[in-house]
Amino acid sequence: MSSSTTIGHVRHVLSDNPVTLLAATMFAVFVLLALVGPFVVPYDPLASNAARALQPPSAEHWFGTDALGRDIFSRVIVATRLDLSIAFAAVLMSFLIGMPLGLAAGFFGGWWERIVTRAADTVMAFPLFVLAMGIVAALGNTVGNIVLATAIINLPFYIRVARAEANVRRGAGWVEAARLAGNGDARILAVHLFPNALPPAMVQVSLNMGWAILNAAGLSFIGLGVRPPEPEWGILVAEGAQFIVSGEWWVSFFPGAMLMLAVFTFNLLGDALRDIFDPRRRT
């Protein structure tokens, strides 16, 4: 596929499905907020003001204030960067480790394939959120370990995708041709097989991003990883949880809604990417 037809196809998918266009727009907004969020928010996200504690949403405080009088709107916006960074770092890590492992497993086969698939199966043998909890508990309660745990539980998906792609192509004519042209195994894997495995892996990346955001927020909701007063969506929801029963809904609602929107965006984007890369698997 030449690049001009790719762009044409992308444009076709975008214009054909308004939902996809919406997802792409929301994605752009989230990235923008992550980049400039801290510079544009109206209040300092950490500045408390006891005189204005637990105020409902108003013109001054769009999302209201929390128990310490901090502006929830500012905190929710500023948290975007941390939440997206954790998810992005985790997904990048599983992509960078999982793809080579899976490609090599599918390409070489044999004992190497057995070891890699067995390792992936072992991770999948756990309820993944519980395994992530166990990893963070064992390695220490830090943001770095949240990233690591999320990367580990996502690893099997990349290994499987890459392995399947390499497996069906290792006997293909153009792989043989590349070998006859004097390319070594490593070069065939990196230059010839990797680009072929990229489209399904990108779909996985987008779907994983949403999932990684949920996972990281879930972990910090139960008190792992990010520590208060650092604004992070999971923690913000947890901080407001006790006020739900007394009717101060805004403390939890806005961070929760933002989190949901972010995950929704990446899930829609994943579906759209699938349509672009693999029209046959359209559902």
Partner: protein, 337 residues
């Protein structure tokens, strides 16, 4: 059929072994010196060394692993530092509370998702198909703690329909005599109507929260599997033979379409076990998940590791059970062997 079952049992062994190896590695990965940790903050150097010998931490790693497996075989998961009780006992006491939510949520989710998936598949592109698509995409995007809090706000604070979202039972009631540990069954056995109703009311919100979370994968799978079955030759033949559409749909199509759905239940269980941790925190539910969270907050490692291990083993066994169920309900599996 016996051979198929034996083969499936054997296939589960590596996973079982893998789960044990990973949890063992996690116990040895505690930051700092585990012996110093278990000896306590004020322990002398000698006391630490003694604990190290007691725990076998001075031994080579393979030997430590064998000891770990031997302890496990005796059901010994260590002691909780905060309560001083054996972890196994505490986990067992709290497991029914978690199971009650998980099982009811599974039933509820299937009861909604399967008809929804079938309706979407029989009329692809219709409004019900669009609705199913919306529900499945939204369902996987919802953080369970957010859904739970939202439901608590609407049904407890605004409408006052649900009881206070804290715990398994309103404090005015005392729990039924323990038979199964599932309050609904125990209360029914005790013949206590008010108690049954009280525990049912407490269950509604956590169960609905969890069901919403797992609706999506079940509905998605039902729809996909139903679509492929409806396009197959035997359904066309059944239709051409003049069978009524409901007979074709339910007796011919749905029964075959449910097979792949059963396989996804394994994955769904994994989701439910994970989300139960978060849901138990939201609703102050005294299950194994909130037990693990409490231990985590207190840096009490044995219960957390016991929890991870128990859930890992439970999950492997559940998947095995689903595999075996598959052998029983799908005659083709027997023929292939």
């Amino acid at each position: 059929m016996g051979r198929v079952i034996a083969r499936r049992l054997l296939a589960a062994l590596p996973n079982l072994f893998g789960v044990i190896v990973i949890t063992f590695l996690l116990t040895r990965a505690i930051p700092g010196d585990p012996a110093a940790y278990f000896a306590g903050a004020s322990a002398t150097q000698e006391a630490v060394e003694q604990v190290r010998r007691q725990l076998g931490l001075d031994r080579p790693l393979p030997e430590q692993f064998l000891r770990y497996v031997a302890d496990l075989a005796r059901g010994d998961l260590g002691l909780s530092l905060t309560t001083g009780q054996p972890v196994r006992q505490e986990l067992l006491a709290r497991l029914p509370a978690s199971l009650e939510v998980v099982l009811l949520a599974l039933v509820l989710a299937c009861a909604i998702a399967i008809p929804l998936g079938v309706a979407a598949a029989t009329r692809p592109g219709s409004w019900i198909d669009q609705l199913a698509r919306l529900v499945t995409t939204a369902g996987v995007s919802l953080p369970t703690f957010f859904t739970g809090l939202l439901l608590a706000y609407v049904f407890y604070f605004l409408l006052g329909w649900a009881p206070s979202p804290l715990g398994r039972l309103d404090p005015v009631f005392s729990p039924p005599p323990t038979v199964t540990g599932l309050y609904l069954i125990d209360a029914a056995l005790a013949g206590d109507r008010a108690l049954w109703w009280a525990s049912f009311k407490q269950l509604v919100l956590p169960v609905v929260t969890m069901a919403i979370f797992v609706l999506a994968p079940i509905a998605r799978m039902t729809r996909a599997s139903m679509l492929s079955v409806l396009g197959s030759d035997f359904v066309r033949t059944a239709r051409a033979s003049g069978l009524s559409s409901s007979t074709v749909l339910v007796r011919y199509a749905l029964r075959n379409a449910l097979l792949p759905v059963v396989t996804t239940l394994g994955m769904v269980f994994g989701f439910m076990i994970g989300s139960s941790v978060v849901i138990e925190k939201v609703f102050g539910w005294p299950g194994v998940g909130s037990y693990a969270i409490d231990a985590l907050t207190a840096s009490d490692y044995a219960p957390v590791q016991g929890f991870v291990l128990t859930m890992g083993l439970l999950f492997v066994l559940l998947n095995l059970a689903i595999d075996l169920l598959y052998v029983v309900i799908d005659p083709r599996v027997k023929i292939e062997a």
